[in-house]
């Protein structure tokens, strides 16, 4: 405070003086001017001194206030060391989190947006007239996910995930999980995302790309995951590396199965996971999974089968569906510290065999080709894979590349061979993404894809997406 004002004064003086000096030649005038200046200077100095003392006083008071405030704060902190004895009942409220997702998406307008050569997994009734955010063009919000999670008691933990969209709430997951079985066992019951594959258990907000790999859409339909109402038992082996076995039984109502309104068990899975670290910087996990389910009256809907005369035909499948998945994921980060830089490579392969009968009908559910109802054997063996790499190069930025490939494989229609056209096709897609995360809780992603999953269509897609999570967002799995 002091120095600048004096400096200003000192600077000002010669400037004030110089024009004066030119005109006032005689000494008396000069002496008078000097006297006046001295008076001004004295007055200023006095004022400055007064101001300074006032300031010092004020500062002293401020410091005292600050110190008192700090002491009070420390006391408050010490007091908050232990929760008060009478913690409010709301302390037992579950951890709640809400995930906001939305996007701008530019892509071609295709009437039947489904992967060529693969049975469309549209088990929802509303799909014809209702598009979810993920397949909508332009601006839209995706499902808003609401998650509740808490320990129920020392023995069980519960979790529910609801996906909300206009006019509907879907229970994505709702299960209890054991905490106290011990010996490496874990039991889950309720609606569970199956432990098969790698990506299956992950909710959309945890994906590294805006959409699921083609393989997951081909295997499980629009929602790109296999969920069943049932139970899961897992066992972690007491080995120095990670070895886990799991099995599930469920209702099997979801594609590739169908809801069969029966008393029995609809689906079964088996899976094994192996994993470990290599040095401090590398970790990996690999898995092998098997899903068996049954379908009754599974309709292909429009646009999948084409009758020999070129009109739409509808196939109704009854039979067994067996899926095998091999997956691996490898993560690298310098010294195992992924915050600034890390790389994740992930790939999965699946093969599905379906065996049963196919009832060929045309649009009006009349028998195919105008003949009598054509019921034939049906046998397919199809496969596909994807490989993706995501590199994080600063604490905020990541880039990723994904390649999808499917093979419509062998499809045998037996008596229906003449009634149904089945071209072999190998859908593929290349996807490039870059995303920015302000924190662990907010992310914005730009994605480009060249999608050749539909025969004869090359769909160049642009996708700008945000994912924001509010509240007690729990840890993600590896």
């Amino acid at each position: 405070m002091n120095t600048p004002s004096l400096a200003a004064l000192a600077c000002a003086l010669p400037i004030c003086l110089s024009p004066l000096a030119g005109h006032a030649a005689n000494d008396a005038d000069l002496a008078e001017i000097r006297k006046q200046l001295q008076q001004i200077k004295d007055a200023y100095e006095q004022r400055i001194a007064t101001l300074e003392s006032k300031l010092a006083k004020a500062e002293g008071t401020a410091t005292t206030v600050a110190t008192t405030a700090r002491e009070a704060e420390t006391l408050a902190r010490q007091a908050s060391l232990r929760p008060p004895a009478t913690a409010p009942a709301s302390g037992f409220n579950p951890e709640v989190s809400l995930i906001l997702q939305g996007q701008y998406r530019k892509m071609k307008d295709v009437e039947h947006r489904q992967i060529s050569g693969f049975w469309p997994g549209t088990t929802h009734d509303h799909d014809d007239d209702h598009n979810h955010g993920a397949s909508q063009r332009g601006l839209s919000i995706d499902h808003t996910e609401l998650v509740f999670e808490a320990n129920i008691d020392p023995y069980w933990r519960g979790k529910a995930v609801f996906a909300m969209a206009d006019g509907e709430v879907e229970t994505e997951e709702a299960y209890f999980q054991s905490l106290a079985l011990g010996h490496g066992f874990g039991l889950k019951g309720g609606r569970i995302r199956s432990g098969i594959g790698y990506l299956n258990e992950q909710h959309a907000h945890a994906w590294d790309f805006s959409d699921a790999p083609l393989m997951y859409s081909a295997m499980f339909g629009e929602h790109a995951n296999y969920t069943a109402d049932g139970a899961q038992l897992k066992w972690v082996a007491p080995t120095p590396f990670f070895l886990e076995f799991g099995t599930e039984i469920g209702r099997g109502a979801k594609f590739p199965g169908t809801d069969r309104n029966g008393n029995g068990i609809g689906d079964g899975t088996l899976f094994v996971h192996v994993g470990d670290d290599i040095g401090a910087s590398n970790s990996w996990r690999a898995g092998l999974s098997y899903l068996q389910t049954k379908a009754k009256g599974r309709s292909s809907g429009d646009g999948f089968f084409t009758a020999a005369d070129g009109s739409d035909a509808v196939g109704i499948f009854d039979g067994k569906s067996k899926t095998m998945i091999a997956d691996f994921v490898w993560k690298w980060s310098p010294n195992g510290n992924p915050k600034y830089r890390n790389f994740k490579l992930q790939g999965e392969y699946f093969q599905r065999q379906e065996k049963g009968s196919l009832d060929c009908q045309d649009d009006d559910e009349n028998p195919c080709n105008g003949g009598a109802g054509v019921l034939s054997d049906y046998k397919t063996r199809q496969s596909g894979w994807y490989l993706q790499g995501v590199y994080q190069f600063t604490s905020n930025w990541r880039v990723g590349l994904r390649y999808d490939r499917l093979d419509s494989g062998s499809r045998k229609f037996y008596e229906n061979t003449a009634n149904i056209e089945a071209d072999n096709y190998r859908p593929k897609r290349v996807t490039l993404m870059a995303d920015y995360s302000w924190s662990e809780f907010s992310r914005m992603r730009l994605q480009f894809a060249q999608d050749k999953s539909m025969q004869g269509v090359t769909d160049n897609q642009v996708w700008l997406q945000y994912i924001m999570s509010l509240g007690a967002h729990g840890a993600h799995k590896f």
């Binding site: 902190r77 990670f242 994993g275 195992g336 915050k339 662990e440």
Partner: protein, 301 residues
């Protein structure tokens, strides 16, 4: 015949390996080292992270689940330090004994006085920890408190070795108290020294040595600083000069180096935990090295 069976039984018992070591899963190196100090050869310690990993940001890796599966005691910091991975690891391990609330789950933050407990919980303030600042290991007096409680827990879980654990603690605490006296004497010149920190990780260290935290190079906890933010900090530095910039070894050095170069003050990398620097090989050398580095920073002009 009966006698023969009896003899066989006795020899079978003798043939069994001596009392198996208590399997401890420590989330961070300091608790692994502490458990080792107390338990010696009677414990087998697995440390989930190294001194160069950010304990806030670790994946729930398969290897961690495998180790947690067989652990008898998990020693964690708590106060949400490991919230991003430990809950998943514990649940996925299928190990009942180490679930929170069981004797096999120990939280160090539960036995010391926590600092920086936020008055308001709002993520607008960054990645705040509701339980307070979790970096409690930087005050050696806390280490002693944790050692006492941890020993009690080890005795509870493995009563056969109670004597050994208690004498381990006794030996450690005598040595440790002497070391604290020595460190305090060595670090006397650090009292009142204003310091900048890259992450709010030195609250306890500052409180212990009487250093003054002049600022944090993170706009909010866990949020990387922008250029504008650092420039602002630099302007403040010219008004209220700090003597050095402190950084835990696991963090990127960019912000600390930026500030140090422009403010012409030394950037001091502190081991922060066992293994953070090559010199910090155990708990004693952790503080030896910390104080040595601080004093070196102070002398550097």
């Amino acid at each position: 015949m009966k006698k023969l069976l009896f003899l066989g039984f006795i020899s079978a018992i003798l043939a069994l390996p001596a009392h198996a070591a208590l399997k401890i899963f420590a989330t961070v190196p300091e608790w692994g080292a502490l458990a080792q100090e107390i338990g010696g050869s009677r414990v087998s310690v697995y440390t989930a992270t190294t001194g160069l990993q950010d304990p806030h940001r670790v994946d729930a890796k398969p290897s961690l689940i495998a180790r947690a599966r067989s652990a008898q005691l998990v020693v964690a910091t708590g106060a949400e330090l490991e919230i991003g991975w430990l809950p998943v690891v514990l649940r996925e391990s299928g190990n009942r004994e180490i679930q929170p609330g069981r004797p096999g789950y120990f939280e160090a933050a539960g036995v010391v006085a926590m600092r920086d407990v936020p008055q308001v919980l709002d993520r607008a303030h960054g990645d705040v920890h509701a339980g307070g600042n979790p970096h409690i290991q930087m005050d050696p007096r806390n280490i002693l408190k944790v050692a006492e409680s941890l020993t009690a827990r080890m005795v509870e879980l493995d009563p056969v070795e109670a004597m050994a654990y208690r004498s381990g603690l006794q030996e450690f605490s005598v040595k440790w108290q002497a070391a604290i006296q020595r460190w305090q004497k060595e670090a006397a010149s650090l009292k009142g020294i204003p310091v900048l920190v890259q992450h709010d990780a030195f609250s306890y260290l500052n409180a212990w040595l009487g250093m003054k935290q002049a600022g944090v190079l993170e706009p909010k906890p866990g949020v990387e600083p922008s250029g504008a933010f650092l420039a602002d900090m630099l302007a403040r530095q010219q008004a209220q000069p700090a003597r050095m910039v402190l950084r835990p070894a696991y963090q990127y050095d960019t912000p600390a180096r930026w500030m140090a170069e422009r403010a012409k003050i030394p950037a001091v990398t502190l081991p922060f935990t066992v293994g953070g620097t090559p010199e910090a090989s155990d708990l004693f050398s952790l503080f030896d090295d910390t104080i040595r580095r601080l004093l070196a920073g102070l002398q550097q002009k």
